[in-house]
């Protein structure tokens, strides 16, 4: 026991003596740190602070949050929005990842002799479009008056949220595709050839060799998607408006936040309730990230290739 502790002390002692904090690092980090603190950290902390105060500026503790719990005035809207958020995420997780992976595999296959770059760019291009454009185009395509389907997909409570989720998947499928593609092209051919020599079928090669190598990336993509989906607002707002119809069936926390903070039509905006919803969003996202970090990232095996 004692020996080890003295040993570490010695090590630490020598390291501090030899290693001095390089000043240029501060110069490099400084501007970014200052800007990030001013425009991200401070507003975030201030928003957390605001959620503990009433609109009149009096400290109310957690009373604002009680409105979100069963019995509170925002309770039904909040839990509806949270549920919709998770449905929105589920669609992305269950559709975007497999489709993205499938496209990435197709792109790395030798079946595709020509135009690989073109396809890659085409599939990725919706990602860089403005959400407003995507929403508008799809609204026209799906319009029962001028569009190609007569079913009012965006107007029925049962289909509106899945339709919007798939619109968003269509737009962003390029991102998981690119991530998976990057991993797939990085897998050495010898591994696959060796497996083939051992008599493994294509299916076995995918599940036993490629898929385990993809798992860490799947986690990263999922957590990025989770954060983006829980923060989503723009698509719903541009297609369905702030009231997220029909019958609040597409209302997510972003639109609920917008209505509570800025108000809507005759509804007066409330800084306190807006900050409260924003804080709740922050907590939900934080919980998700923690689950990822401790439940997934620590357990999944990463292979050095």
């Amino acid at each position: 026991m004692t020996t080890t502790s003295t040993k570490t002390d010695v090590v630490r002692g020598t390291s501090t003596r030899r290693w001095r904090f390089p000043g240029y690092v501060a110069v490099f980090l400084g501007p970014a740190l200052i800007i990030y603190t001013m425009f991200m950290v401070y507003p975030l902390l201030d928003s957390l602070r605001l959620s503990l105060f009433s609109d009149e500026g009096a400290f109310v503790g957690l009373a604002n949050f009680r409105e979100l719990l069963p019995g509170g005035s925002l309770s039904s809207s909040f839990w509806n929005a949270l549920g919709n958020n998770f449905v929105f995420f589920a669609f992305h997780f269950l559709v975007q990842n497999p489709v993205g992976l499938f496209l990435a595999v197709l792109l790395t296959q030798h079946l595709l002799k020509r135009g690989r770059g073109t396809y890659r760019t085409l599939i990725f291009s919706p990602t860089v479009l403005s959400v407003v454009i995507v929403g508008f185009i799809w609204q026209l395509i799906l319009s029962p008056l001028w569009g190609v389907v007569s079913t009012p997909l965006l107007g029925l409570t049962s289909t509106a949220l899945p339709t919007l989720s798939l619109m968003s998947v269509w737009q962003f499928v390029g991102i998981p595709m690119m991530f998976f593609y990057a991993v797939l092209v990085g897998i050495p051919q010898d591994l696959i050839e060796a497996a083939r020599v051992d008599g493994a079928s294509g299916w076995t090669i995918f599940w036993r060799i490629i898929f385990p190598l993809l798992l860490p990336m799947l986690g990263i993509i999922s957590i990025i998607t989770y954060i983006a989906n829980l923060n989503a607002f723009d698509l719903i707002y541009s297609v369905q408006g702030a009231l997220a119809g029909p019958e609040f069936s597409t209302d997510i926390m972003g639109t609920l936040f917008y209505r509570s903070f800025f108000g809507f039509q005759l509804q007066a905006g409330s800084t306190a309730m807006g900050a409260t919803v924003a804080t709740a969003m922050f907590i939900v996202i934080l919980l998700g990230v923690l689950v990822y970090l401790f439940g997934w990232a620590k357990r999944v095996e990463t292979y050095e290739l």
């Binding site: 770059g117 073109t118 029962p144 009012p152 107007g155 369905q240 800025f262 809507f264």
Partner: protein, 461 residues
């Protein structure tokens, strides 16, 4: 080859983004446009200013006492009328005051305005939404008290009711216009199908049946995707005949009537029948879609507000007429929604309060009333001045004021102050009832429950 193609796609993508961004930019430029002209106007005096030591007060004095006023508004449709007609008329009489009209999209107006007022960047003149939205701004000290403004005597107390404090002592906006609900119809289609203009509910549905049976036209041009049409052009349009206008509206405020009462359930029962006559897939048809459907001649009847007149006159190439919300039985007293909709107030933080008051007094004048009503047919002056209008459709709407009892939308005064917000719920419930995902009874129960959650007069009863 492959590379070039990739680059081309990348460039197209960038162009698309640029296009998306530039549309944002252009609205900014319009808003900022006014400021730029000031700079140019003051430009000639720049040397003087520098000589005077760059003192700010000197700058204002040096630029010939020209004051720049900015009007905040949600009426972006009216931009051309303000810039080409109204503002030049005012500036001709007041050469020292320059006015610019800086509208925001209607759906974003409240939020944007709130932000600008709090940040101190809002314009001098604020277009006022009726009732609580403006009252809140007044209570927060953003709107100035203009009770004593010369010209306010030109408005009746009903006209002013939407922009006064609850005790009625302080006024904070000059009423500009009201809008009237009703139905606009395609007269050519009516003649072709052979239906008469309906006055009673039975005639109304008979006409709808005839148009539907004929099949050339969609009977009713309306969708429920945006929800507010269901509430505004549906519920608030035909409802006053059921709840007897002001009687019912005051009853709800005082707690003597409930949303679960028969008259409200009946309103929704009638509204639910509309679904059969609306275009297929109406659940996903948005407001601009139904406007286009009607003006392109695809539908026979458009449940309307008078504010549509200007656009419809411009776009529709067929004869149009209007009829008021049909009554239950011939000879019944009719009620119309003659809603106080728009007013103009003074930003309490405006540095140009005197010039702004000059403008507001002019807004209260005979000249403005007539100019506004005629350049924006469908926005009816709230002043006591005699205004003659040329537009036949607007005249038709206005003539109902003589035949019927006027009321305003029942959710606007007091009742939308709490959470859950009544107006938001009305939108959702009205759309749901037409979509027949809720029965009229269930819908009105939701409204009543929401009101009882926070509004004391409804709790005791």
């Amino acid at each position: 080859m492959k590379r070039t193609f990739t680059w081309m796609i990348a460039i197209v993508a960038v162009l698309l983004i640029a296009a998306a961004c530039s549309s944002d930019d252009s609205s900014d430029t319009t808003a900022a446009g006014g400021d730029e002209t000031t700079t140019t106007a003051a430009g000639g005096d720049e040397t003087t200013t520098t000589a005077a030591g760059g003192d700010e007060t000197t700058t204002t004095a040096a630029s010939g006492d020209t004051v720049e006023l900015v009007i905040e508004s949600w009426r972006n449709d009216d931009l051309a009328i303000w810039e080409d007609t109204i503002i030049p008329a005012f500036e001709a009489q007041n050469p020292n005051i320059k006015v610019s009209f800086a509208p925001t999209a209607p759906a974003e107006y409240n939020a944007v305005l709130q932000g600008r007022l709090e940040g101190g960047t809002a314009g001098d003149l604020i277009t006022c939404r009726p009732f609580d939205a403006s009252l809140d701004l007044y209570d927060a000290g953003h709107l100035a008290d203009i009770t004593d403004l010369p010209g306010m005597e030109n408005f009746s107390s009903v006209a002013q009711s939407a922009w006064i404090t609850d005790d009625g002592t302080q006024k904070f906006c000059v009423p500009m216009a009201s809008v009237i609900h009703g139905f606009i119809y395609n007269a050519d289609a009516f003649a072709e199908v052979g239906v008469d203009v309906p006055t009673t509910e039975d005639e109304f549905f008979a006409a709808l049946d005839a148009i539907k049976a004929d099949g050339t036209y969609d009977a009713l041009a309306m969708g429920t995707a945006d929800q507010w049409e269901a509430a505004t052009m549906g519920f608030q349009n035909i409802g006053p005949n059921y709840w007897k206008g002001e009687e019912g509206r005051i009853g709800l405020i005082e707690g003597t009537e409930k949303f679960t009462d028969q008259q409200y359930v009946d309103t929704y029962n009638t509204l639910a029948r509309w679904a059969d006559y609306m275009p297929g897939g109406f659940e996903a048809i948005a407001y601009p879609d139904s406007q286009a459907l009607f003006t392109l001649g695809g539908a026979a009847i458009y449940p309307a507000g008078s504010w549509e007149i200007g656009l419809f006159n411009e776009q529709a190439e067929f004869a149009m007429g209007a009829f008021k919300p049909p009554v239950k039985a011939a000879g019944d007293t009719c009620y119309i929604s003659d809603h106080t909709d728009i007013a103009l107030g003074l930003n309490a933080a405006s540095p140009n309060a005197d010039a702004a008051k000059t403008f507001l007094s002019w807004v209260a004048s005979d000249e403005f009333a007539s100019m506004y009503a005629n350049s924006l047919p469908g926005f009816f002056s709230l002043s006591n001045h005699e205004v003659t209008m040329d537009d036949p459709l607007a005249q038709e709407f206005l003539s109902w004021r003589g035949d019927c009892e006027s009321t305003i939308r029942n959710s606007y005064q007091i009742l939308s102050r709490g959470e859950p917000n009544l107006e938001n719920e009305l939108w959702a419930v009205s759309a749901t009832v037409i979509n027949s995902t809720a029965t009229p009874e269930a819908g009105t129960a939701i409204l009543q429950e929401g009101l009882e959650a926070w509004y004391p007069p409804q709790q005791s009863g």
